[in-house]
């Protein structure tokens, strides 16, 4: 995930440098943390919808911060004002920083104009998670979806972002697809900006 701070103790957050520390955290450390996150939220809800919502919110908070940080760090203080720009930002920059790799694919929805899909063969958060049958189509990728939504929403592209399992023929594991459905105002603005 986001690089953890230097070992050196600072009296104050504001003194820490924002330099792109390439620190990485251990995967299993994260996995356990995430697992706890999910379990905690599980205790707070009484249906899957809420659980997804909570995970998404958790992700959203990450998204907000990641956006600001990365635009400052990676993009040299340029904002993304265009749809494709922000999408590729999510697909490449954000993914790279969060998951150490660029997302597998970024596609445009075929039937709907306002739908885009980021697909990942094995989402990092889902690597160790197998969802029990009785939870149906629940996908912990909701967290990542939340991150994406956080980034998009704060960059001024409000969208509904959901994570889905999409079975791939020839593999027994479905891949996770993050479906982004932009609000119409975004499309209108795109049209205006030409």
């Amino acid at each position: 995930m986001i690089g953890v701070g230097k070992i050196k103790q600072y009296t104050n957050v504001l003194d820490k440098p924002l330099s792109k520390g390439r620190q990485e955290v251990s995967l299993s450390g994260f996995a356990y943390l995430f697992s706890e996150l999910v379990q905690y939220n599980q205790t707070q809800v009484d249906n899957i919808g809420e659980l997804e919502k909570r995970l998404e919110d958790a992700g959203y908070a990450v998204g907000v911060r990641v956006l600001e940080l990365l635009c400052h760090r990676e993009k040299g203080n340029r904002r993304e004002t265009r749809l494709l720009g922000i999408l590729s930002f999510v697909h490449s920059t954000v993914w790279k920083v969060l998951f150490g790799k660029v997302a597998d694919s970024l596609e445009k929805g075929t039937e709907h104009e306002d739908e885009y899909m980021i697909s990942e063969k094995e989402l990092l958060v889902n690597r160790f998670i197998s969802v029990p049958k009785d939870m149906g189509s629940f996908n912990c990728g909701a967290f990542v979806a939340g991150v994406v939504r956080g980034v998009l929403d704060n960059a001024g592209f409000p969208a509904v972002v959901t994570a889905h399992f999409v079975p791939v023929d020839g593999q027994q594991r479905p891949r996770t697809t993050i479906l982004i459905k932009f609000a119409e105002e975004v499309l209108r603005r795109e049209a205006r900006l030409g």
Partner: protein, 143 residues
């Protein structure tokens, strides 16, 4: 000579989350209010302008009488807005532009640090006193 300047950080939903009168001029209540009103009005212009460029720093996007509004729109559409007197601008126009710009950039960094604080709820007021002092220091440095 005295300069009046009002600096604010406006959250995405147009709520000020930080405000500071960083002018050297003696503080006057209604003057401050006036500044804020101007800034509030300027938001309209910004929200259109912000989408025409990908640059963060938009200089002198609006003015009322002799007050000029400069804006720095972060990626998260947090506005760092800023009102100064033209007079001051006129005096040293050449380098003060980038003075303001670098001021904005530094404050932006500070803001990001604030944002990264997990205990800070994005979109809520910035109450950190360190932040305040640092911002004022920057203001003295650049403006």
């Amino acid at each position: 000579m005295s300069s009046t300047a009002c600096f604010m950080i406006i959250s995405r939903n147009d709520i000020p989350i930080y405000e500071a009168e960083v002018g050297t001029a003696p503080k006057k209540e209604e003057a401050a209010h006036q500044h804020q009103f101007i800034l509030h009005a300027a938001l309209d212009v910004v929200q259109d302008l912000a989408w025409t460029t990908s640059a963060m720093f938009l200089k002198a996007i609006d003015r009322f009488n002799d007050l000029v509004v400069s804006v720095y729109v972060t990626a998260g559409h947090i506005l760092l807005i800023f009102v100064t007197h033209t007079r001051l601008m006129l005096l040293h126009d050449s380098r003060n532009d980038d003075g303001i710009k670098s001021f904005f950039q530094d404050v932006h960094e500070l803001y990001i640090k604030i944002l990264l604080n997990p205990l800070y709820l994005p979109g809520s007021r910035v109450t950190s006193s360190h932040f305040d002092t640092k911002v004022r220091a920057l203001a003295r440095k650049y403006l």
